[in-house]
Amino acid sequence: MDRARLLVASCRPEEEPTLGSQVKEVNPKIMMLRLTRDDIADIVQAFGSSTFTSLELRVGAVTLEVRKPGAEETRPADALPRTVEVVAPLLGIFEAEPVTGGPPFVRPGTRVHPETTVGILHVGKDRTPVMAGVCGTVDEVLVKGGQLVEYGQPMLRVNTAPPDLPGELTDAAGADAP
């Protein structure tokens, strides 16, 4: 717990800039979120006697990060998933092509950005376009036109590796999606 104590010592809640006296007058509820040294000591003690190995807590401007000795960093910067699933935001019948006809909205290999329409979900008289929500290249379309798609069902796999890094792309192509 030596490291935890050190981290607590480096937290200075008194100096946090956002919870000043003018805030106190406007919204007393915000003041309830203020952490004192004693609060932090209590939190660290509770953490210490728990089975968890790391803790990250943000209250206002205070960020408290505590890890037990030997615990590994859990969020390395390079661990972002390279393949993401685009899930259905509502239940509906999937339409892969525009109502007016033409090619499918997306196919494997199609470049998408967050606003790209990847398909339409049809419920009664409503047709709701589904956006990709991410930048990347379509790996796989998981649903077929005319199929019932449930809320939360994966519709596409999108490889989000930047295309201007050929090494990354090669890696992604060589590895199956998780």
């Binding site: 509502l90 019932l148 809320y151 069902q153």
Partner: protein, 460 residues
């Protein structure tokens, strides 16, 4: 038309209940779940689960388009709406019809007529069923005062268009009527877009008694006796029983006949409940409303008659005639149902969702428990707090009460706060034993803290 696969557009114990009957009848089940109910018991028992939306009921269990699309997309030929949510929504019944799916419930126009308080009351009057003295066209305070003089005080003002206590005012003195009218009409306009009110005599010493009816497409209508739902708290039923307690045989028979007459008048198709208010001081009964769905307390009737009401709903929806006639319906013994909710009774019935760490049900031949709960189940915070219904049957009321007390003492639920301690205490009151209660009794004893509403763990 045969029903082969049913979409169940509901959750909790009633979804489980419907699946059980479907299985017994060899009908496949698809349960429509929200994101919060993917791991629920109904999802485990159904042949298929389809997620129709997020936890928020407005976007899932109340979403007509999603329910109908899910039914069509999974090849269901019928939709069972359960109770609550869309069960009395004529739009769902219509949308089902448009998509060629059978709605398990009355015709849309029946749901619409009976769902409108003023239309339902007019229908009752035309069918010769007594209604609470009052008027349904209170558009200004002058009219309110003249009607109040006729029916006598105290009176109740209610929104014509809605429920849930919105626009509801009780008036004991004529001088307060004008103010109450203005408040109620403003609330009604804000909540329902319609400020029209209806006024009726308030019955202070009332029982709530309802008659179970069944009607088929061939014009057959029968009743399955009544249920006494006098134990209520904030218009929510707490304990129900059958047959009704402390009413004359003549009144009982007249209510049953009135319910059948009303169902015949409207050409009722399906299972329904006609609710009455009984004035215990005058030995009179008045029509309240018709619920066009299966009700929470339907097992009380099932254990006395041996009729599977969900099974009858499925038969009727398939266009088959009722399997029984009135002469074959007999109520044997006495039944009591207790609703066990995840609520902390000692803290003003605060909802108490969470993880159920222990779940032990009483196990006797005379006990039935309808539930979706089990040890390790996480009660989600988004919905109704009903955990289980404990239904107990005895040869007579005294035996049913004693057995219910025993079953309540043997029921153990840990991890969430529940209303078991409250129910144990309520059923031990001498007024309950004699049956001399009215619809305000539960609230009066709760407010006076005459009954223990302590924690489950505090029990000796």
């Amino acid at each position: 038309m045969k029903v082969r696969r049913v979409l169940i557009a509901n959750r909790g114990e009633i979804a489980v209940r419907i699946i059980r009957t479907c299985r017994a009848l060899g009908i496949e089940t698809v349960v429509a779940v929200s994101d919060a109910d993917r791991e629920g018991l109904a999802a485990r028992l159904a042949d298929r689960t389809v997620c129709i939306g997020p936890a928020r009921a407005a976007a899932s269990y109340l979403n007509v388009g999603a329910v109908v699309t899910a039914a069509v997309g999974t090849g269901c030929d019928a939709v069972h709406p359960g109770y609550g949510f869309l069960a009395e929504n004529a739009s769902l019944a219509e949308a089902c019809a448009e998509s060629g799916v059978t709605f398990i419930g009355p015709r849309p126009e029946t749901i619409r007529t009976l769902g409108d308080k003023i239309q339902a009351r007019a229908l009752a009057v035309s069918a010769g069923v007594p209604v609470v003295p009052g008027a349904d066209d209170i558009a200004d305070s002058q009219r309110a005062i003249s009607v109040a003089r006729d029916v006598g005080l105290p009176i109740l003002l209610k929104a014509a268009a809605g429920g849930g206590g919105k626009g509801m005012q009780v008036v004991h003195e004529l001088c307060r009527l004008r103010g109450a009218f203005e408040t109620a009409t403003a609330e009604a306009r804000a909540a329902f877009g319609n400020g029209t009110l209806y006024m009726e005599r308030l019955v202070p010493n009332a029982r709530h008694i309802e008659v179970q009816i069944l009607g088929d497409r061939h014009g057959n209508v029968l009743h399955l006796g009544e249920r006494d739902c006098t134990l209520q708290r904030r218009h929510q039923k707490v304990v129900e029983e059958a047959p009704a307690v402390l009413i004359s045989e003549q009144l009982r028979d007249r209510m049953r006949q009135a319910a059948v007459g009303l169902a015949v008048a409207v050409g009722y198709e399906g299972a329904g409940t006609v609710e009455f208010l009984v004035d215990q001081d005058r030995d009179e009964f008045f029509f309240l409303e018709v619920n066009t769905r299966i009700q929470v307390e339907h097992p009380v009737t099932e254990v006395l008659t041996g009729v599977d009401l969900v099974g009858e709903q499925l038969r009727i929806a398939a266009g088959e005639p009722l399997a029984l006639d009135q002469a074959q319906i007999h109520l044997r013994g006495h039944a009591i149902e207790c609703r066990i909710n995840a609520e902390a009774a000692h803290d003003n019935f605060r909802p108490s969702p969470g993880l159920i760490s222990e779940w032990r049900e009483p196990d006797h031949a005379y006990v039935r428990v309808d539930t979706h709960c089990y040890p390790g189940y996480g009660v989600p915070p988004f919905y109704d707090s009903l955990l289980a219904k404990l239904i107990v049957v005895g040869q007579d009321r005294a035996e049913a009460v004693a057995r219910t007390q025993l079953a309540l003492s043997e029921f153990s639920i840990q991890g969430v706060e529940c209303t078991l301690p409250f129910l144990r205490s309520l059923l031990q009151r001498p007024e309950y034993a004699t049956g001399s209660v009215n619809t305000r009794w539960v609230e009066s004893v709760t407010a006076e803290r005459k009954i223990s509403v302590g924690h489950e763990g505090e029990r000796a």
